[in-house]
C-alpha cells in the first residue's frame, strides 16, 4: 500500500547507499571477460587459472588486511595447509575435488581460528612477527615430515578425480579453468554480500577506529576472530585449487616469499575494493611472465619499480587509479554528477 509513496520520497541517501551495493556494469563486465578468456585464449588456460587462484588468495588477504586492518606476513600458512590437505586427501583414495576443497577449507579454517588467538592479541608489529613465525614453523614442519609431505621434493603423484564424478580434468586445463572460475565466483559472491552487509561495515569501523568501534558496542575480538577464520578458509581453498589443478604440491606453498608476494599483489591491485586481489594478481603474474621472458634476471628490478609507482602515485592501487579515472571522465561529461 505504501510502496508508491515510499518510492516517490525515497531519499537521496538511500539511493546512494543502494547504488553502492548494486552490481555495477564494470563488475559484470569483469566476470564476463573471465568467461570470455575460456573461449578466446584456449592455450593459456593453465596460466589464467593461476591468476584466478592467486586472485582468490589475495581476496582472502583483502578481507583481513583491507577490510579489518589486520597485517600479516604469514598468510601462506593457510594456503599451504589447504594445498597439502587437498593433496594428502587424494592419497587416502578420496579423489572428488569439490568436496576436497571443503575439507581443505575446513582444515585451514580450523587452524586460522586457533592461530587467531595468537595473532589478534598483539598490535601491528607483533602481528607481523607472529604470522611470520607461524609461517616459518609450518614450512619447517612440511620440510621435515618428508614421509608425509615429500619434503623439498614436494608431494607427487596426486590423482584428482572428476568434479562431482562428472567432469574430468584435461591436459589443456579447460575443466580446471572453469572449475577455478566457478569456485572463485561463488566465493566472491559470498564475500561481496558479507562486505555490503552491516557485518562488513562493522569491520571497516574496526579498521578505522577501534576505540570508537568498542564504544558503539562492536565486539571487536569476536568479529576479528570471525573474519580471520573466514579468510583462512578461503586461503585454504585457494591452496587446494592449486593442488588440484597442478596435481602437485611444492613446499613453497608455505614459503615466506608467497606471503610477501601476496601483499604486493594486493597492494598493486588495491585494498578493500574486492577486485583488487584479482586485478593485482593479473598485473603481477603477467608482468612477471612478460618481464622475465625479456630478461629473467631483471624481473625483480621492474617489480620494485612497479611497486614504488603504484604505492606512491596510486595510493589505492590499480583499482584506485581506475576509480579516479572514472571520476575524471564523469566530471568531463557536463550535467552528470559524480
Amino acid at each position: 500500500m505504501n510502496i508508491r509513496t515510499e518510492s516517490v520520497r525515497a531519499p537521496g541517501y538511500l539511493a546512494t547507499l543502494a547504488a553502492r551495493e548494486r552490481w555495477g556494469r564494470s563488475e559484470i563486465a569483469f566476470w564476463l571477460v573471465l568467461v570470455a578468456v575460456y573461449f578466446l585464449l584456449p592455450n593459456n588456460l593453465m596460466f589464467a587459472s593461476q591468476i584466478l587462484i592467486t586472485g582468490l588468495f589475495a581476496l582472502s588477504l583483502d578481507l583481513i588486511l583491507g577490510y579489518a586492518g589486520i597485517v600479516t606476513l604469514g598468510h601462506a600458512a593457510f594456503f599451504g595447509l589447504g594445498a597439502y590437505t587437498a593433496g594428502l586427501l587424494t592419497k587416502t583414495g578420496y579423489t572428488e575435488p569439490a568436496s576436497g576443497l571443503m575439507v581443505a577449507g575446513l582444515v585451514a579454517g580450523a587452524f586460522g581460528y586457533l592461530s587467531s588467538y595468537l595473532v589478534l592479541r598483539g598490535r601491528d608489529l607483533s602481528r607481523l612477527m607472529i604470522t611470520l613465525g607461524i609461517g616459518l614453523l609450518l614450512y619447517e614442519v612440511a620440510n621435515r615430515a618428508t614421509d608425509i609431505t615429500g619434503g623439498v621434493d614436494g608431494l607427487q603423484g596426486i590423482a584428482v578425480g572428476k568434479v562431482f564424478g562428472l567432469f574430468a580434468f584435461d591436459l589443456y586445463g579447460k575443466t580446471a579453468y572453469l572449475y577455478v572460475l566457478v569456485v572463485s565466483f561463488l566465493l566472491f559472491v559470498m564475500v561481496r554480500s558479507l562486505m555490503t552487509a552491516p557485518y562488513g561495515l562493522s569491520l571497516r569501523s574496526i579498521r578505522e577506529n577501534q576505540q570508537r568501534a568498542v564504544a558503539i558496542g562492536i565486539p571487536i575480538r569476536a568479529r576479528l576472530t570471525n573474519i580471520y577464520t573466514l579468510s583462512a578458509v578461503i586461503a585454504g581453498i585457494a591452496g587446494a585449487l592449486l593442488t588440484q589443478t597442478t596435481q602437485f604440491v611444492a613446499i613453497d606453498v608455505f614459503a615466506f616469499q608467497r606471503s610477501a608476494d601476496l601483499l604486493i599483489v594486493l597492494l598493486i591491485g588495491g585494498t578493500a575494493t574486492l577486485y583488487g586481489g584479482f586485478v593485482g594478481a593479473a598485473v603481477f603474474l603477467l608482468a612477471q611472465d612478460w618481464l622475465s621472458s625479456i630478461n629473467a634476471e631483471y624481473w625483480l628490478f621492474w617489480l620494485g619499480l612497479l611497486l614504488i609507482i603504484t604505492t606512491r602515485y596510486l595510493r589505492t592501487g590499480v583499482m584506485g587509479g581506475l576509480k579516479s579515472l572514472q571520476r575524471l571522465a564523469a566530471r568531463a561529461k557536463p550535467g552528470e554528477e559524480s
Partner: protein, 253 residues
Amino acid sequence: MSAVLRTQDLCKSFGGLKVTQNVNLSLEVGARHALIGPNGAGKTTLINQLTGVLRPSSGSIWLDGEDISKMPPYERVRRGLARTFQINSLFPNLSPLEAVTGAICERQRDHLSVFERRFFRLTHRRAEIDEAYELLERLNLAKDCMRETRELAYGKQRLLEMALALAVKPKVLLLDEPAAGVPEGESDELLAVLAELPKDISILLIEHDMSLVFRFADRITVLVSGTQLVSGTPAEIAEDPRVQEVYLGKHHG
C-alpha cells in the same frame, strides 16, 4: 531515589600511584550530574573504568542494579552505557549515516539470525537507516549525512560524537568534555543539543568550562587527586570553601 549508575569503593592504582581512591559515585535516574576537578584529578581514568577500558584495582560498578565490573566494554554498551570522547574519535572515511546506522545495527543485532546479519545488505535494514537519519536530523547533521566524516567541520564532528553515543540508546550517557575545542560561534548548536537531550537519559558530564557546568548540571561531584572531595547541588558546591580552595582558588591564585 534510585541510582542507575553507581560505583562502590572504586580504587585504581598504576604501580604506587593511586588515581582513583574509594570513589562512591551515584548517578540518579534522569540526572544531569557533572564531574569536575582540576587537571590530573582522575576524571578520565574514572570514565575509562566505567566503560570498561580500564579494570579497577578494587571495588565495583553497578548499572541498573547489575554488577558490570567484569564485563567487556561492548557488553556495557549493550546494556545502555554510552560515551563521547574528549578528543573526537570517529570513523574518518565513513559517512555519518553509515557510522550511525552501523551503531544501530549493532544494537539491534539480536533481532536477526546469523544468516541475516551476515548476508543481508545494508539497505535491507531500512528501519535502522531511517532511525539513523532521524537522529542525524535532530542533531543538524542531515545535510552532511553522506559526506565523509573527515570532511565535516569540527563543530559538526563534535555533534557526530554525540549522535554515535545516542545511537546506542543509552540509559546512561558519559559526556567527556563535549564542548572541548568547539569555537565560540559553533558552540550554541552543541549547547542546544545538550539541553534537548531526552530526560530519561541520565548524564554524567565531565567538563572544564564552569559556566557550562553550572548551567547544565543539577548535581556536581568534585574530584581531587582521585578522591571524591564533595558532592552536592550547584549552589552547595559554589558555596563550599574546600572547593573554592582546591578548585576555584587555583584560578584566582
